[in-house]
Symmetry: C2
Subunit: 156 residues, 2 copies
């Protein structure tokens, strides 16, 4: 149910969020997120149009987040590329149903409301900073393997 | 997030569930569900392939449900036409993530799990029989209007 476009938009936003305020080119984002460049360009255009990403042309230019990661929700990213469609009126156009959804459409809309709420309550900063978990888009030390003695790395 | 195909498949199944064991032609289902016939035919083929609908050719033939409405969940219908995609391994193919999803993919999969669970726990019979609600696919008496005296209708 989550499209490839949604997945790619989230990867791009997470990458930019992890890049602080440093501008990233489409090439750099494509490499980091494992997204085909042409597809990524379209996704980035949608994110720019939605006011989530700033695009600076020219030498030293690139993409940056407009807001800080704690100001952006997953829902904003999803809605920028593929808005969650709530059911507000009877999809069959039945006049006596109107806004009073029948049990079928009520249950479908309830499910969409759950997803919408879960995404609205998750900020980019949260998925970057969850303690003890692997980091989105990044290879990380495997939990099961013992740490090499004397090689404690920098915190990721 | 719920596609047109899912919506149409559910309408077809609800119509057949409400038709008891009486066979319905594609024309009849298309009219009752407000779905274009060509589109409906493809949806019905998927439902037949999934073992949810039986198709009987010839005079007096048509479509019937294979199971009774209390044996079929919304999830089975959705999965027959557009399976809910859970995230089982890292979509980026990061070897150190593997099945240990990062916080981004964990949250996305949690949302899909919520939807899957809600649909698995709703049977066709429930959306047909919810008390006091309007009936799927059918025009119904408007709740706000007073009941005509002495004209208590048959139960729907």
């Amino acid at each position: 149910m989550l499209s490839q476009t949604v997945e790619y938009a989230l990867r791009a936003m997470v990458h930019l969020a992890a890049s602080s305020r440093e501008a990233r080119t489409t090439d750099q984002i494509a490499e980091a997120t494992h997204v085909p460049k042409a597809y990524l360009s379209k996704v980035l255009q949608s994110l720019v149009r939605a006011g989530l990403v700033h695009s600076q042309r020219g030498v030293g230019g690139g993409m940056t987040l407009v807001h800080t990661p704690d100001q952006v929700t997953i829902l904003q990213v999803v809605n920028a590329v593929e808005p969650i469609q709530r059911i507000h009126t009877c999809p069959l156009g039945l006049s006596t149903h109107g806004k009073n959804l029948c049990p079928l459409h009520r249950r479908l809309d309830d499910a969409m409301a759950e997803v919408e709420s879960a995404f609205a309550n998750t900020r980019l900063s949260e998925v970057l900073a969850a303690p003890g978990a692997s980091i989105p888009l990044c290879e990380s030390a495997i939990d099961e393997s013992p740490s090499p003695v004397g090689q404690a790395g920098e915190p990721g």
